[in-house]
């Protein structure tokens, strides 16, 4: 990644996350956007086409589509075809439950990647997080997509529950011709309420870092640069891409730095009312984000690998920006070493006593 070129300021994001609806037929306990019912003010079909026009006009290369469940919008396949006509690539995150043969057939004509969400390698573990029947439906979608040779990933959010199943999920993905992608759990949406129960321990995060180093084919998006090791240095970002490489458009057209910072404090503009190019270039919110420095991390030996980690997690857990990511590998390894040391001391004390 050419950090020095990114720091010069890009004319537009490389990709934009677009949450096209709040509507979802599942009710996952960690949902970052608290999705469920369609909400008032969601963009109409005509407005969505204007959003596509605006971003294509700025030469944004890719939409990362999420929600809600994108396929819960009846106009969604048409909108994707419209984006593809404009030359844009779409990466669609879906629960898979609404993908049938016909949808898969329409998708295989476009520049599209699909990420099907699974949070466990078996119905019991997955459905405990994502709801009854969701595993079976997602597997059926994977079959449909595989039969059309569409590039697919299984997307898993790393939690205390999914962490022990990573090897099985890796095998499951391979068995359906998919890659495994692991995303970071963030305390936004319903994730705020489930954060303390589901977030991995620092010990697990340190182990996960090691696991990633041994599974270089597993992708992480921009989720885990706080625990990236040298082995994965060339595989992705080593810094937060918000407002530099990416941004987020909400179902109502609001523009934010990233999907995990959809708070009023971070609202940069609204589409299609405002011009996307103006928001990207002139928004004070984006300008301040680009200047964000995590000073306390700069002397760390890992700074070049993570640049302080994810500001969204730091914000949600500490209510301020410019502070280190609490999932920092240095902290995790220190905590893990301390826990081992404490166990060792306790064992020694027991043996002596």
């Amino acid at each position: 990644m050419g950090n020095q070129y990114v720091e010069m300021g890009l004319s537009a994001p490389v990709n934009a996350t677009w949450e096209v609806t709040f509507k979802c037929n599942l009710s996952c306990i960690h949902c970052l956007s608290d999705s469920g019912r369609k909400r008032p003010g969601e963009l109409t079909t005509a407005e969505c086409r204007q959003v596509i026009d605006q971003l294509a006009g700025q030469k944004v290369f890719q939409f990362n589509i999420g929600g809600g469940e994108p396929f819960a919008r009846p106009d969604f396949p048409d909108l994707m075809e419209y984006a593809h006509e404009k030359g844009m690539v779409t990466c669609i995150s879906t629960n898979g439950t609404l993908i049938d043969r016909d949808i898969a057939r329409r998708l295989d004509k476009g520049l599209v990647y699909i990420q099907v969400s699974l949070d466990g390698a078996a119905p019991e573990s997955n459905d405990a997080i994502r709801g009854q029947g969701s595993f079976k439906a997602a597997m059926k979608a994977l079959d449909h997509l595989h039969s059309r040779s569409i590039e697919v990933s299984i997307n898993t959010v790393l939690t205390r529950l999914s962490f022990p199943e990573l090897d099985k999920l890796h095998d499951l993905a391979a068995s359906v011709g998919a890659k495994l992608r692991v995303s970071r759990f963030r305390p936004s949406g319903r994730g705020k309420a489930s954060w303390s129960d589901l977030n991995v321990s620092q010990d697990q995060m340190a182990d996960f870092s090691g696991w990633l180093s041994q599974h270089l084919g597993v992708s992480t998006g921009d989720s885990f640069f706080s625990v990236t090791t040298e082995e994965r240095r060339s595989l992705g970002l080593n810094m937060c891409g918000a407002c530099k490489l990416t941004c987020c458009v909400s179902p109502k057209g609001e523009v934010y730095p990233c999907a995990f910072l959809q708070d009023p404090d971070f609202l940069a503009g609204k589409l299609p009312r405002d011009r996307f190019g103006d928001i990207w270039r002139d928004s004070p919110v984006f300008a301040s984000f680009r200047e964000l420095e995590i000073k306390s991390c700069e002397s760390c030996h890992r700074f070049d690998l993570c640049h302080g980690g994810c500001p969204a997690i730091a914000f949600h857990t500490q209510r301020k920006l410019g502070v280190p990511d609490p999932g920092c590998l240095v902290n995790c390894v220190t905590v893990k070493s301390m826990e081992k040391f404490e166990k060792h001391v306790a064992k020694t004390a027991m043996a002596a006593g």
């Binding site: 990644m1 070129y5 010069m8 537009a12 490389v14 290369f61 890719q62």
Partner: protein
């Protein structure tokens, strides 16, 4: 690659101008490729309507750079882009 070669983007490749030069995006990955070429080559060049010779001539008339230097630099950049699988050339001679 000769002066009568035109270039087009490969399937799934997009390009845009940036302050530093050109930013390529490849659907097939690796996704991004940064080319610090400043204003040497315009993204429109990859629509295949102008030859390498046309490009060198245009740059020669626009800048006081030595023609050989321009030609060498253009050939170097295009060669790397072709090697990376981002563009393909075709002789129109």
């Amino acid at each position: 690659m000769g002066p009568h070669t035109i270039y087009n983007l490969n399937a799934g490749v997009q390009v845009r101008r940036e302050v530093f030069g050109l930013l390529f995006y490849n659907y097939k990955g690796p996704r991004l490729y940064f080319v610090p070429s400043r204003d040497l080559i315009d993204p429109d060049f990859f629509d295949g309507r102008r030859t390498v010779g046309d490009l060198v001539d245009t740059l020669g008339s626009r800048h006081a750079w030595p023609e050989q230097w321009i030609s060498d630099r253009v050939h170097q950049v295009l060669g790397v882009l072709e090697e990376k699988g981002l563009i393909h050339g075709q002789s129109v001679c």
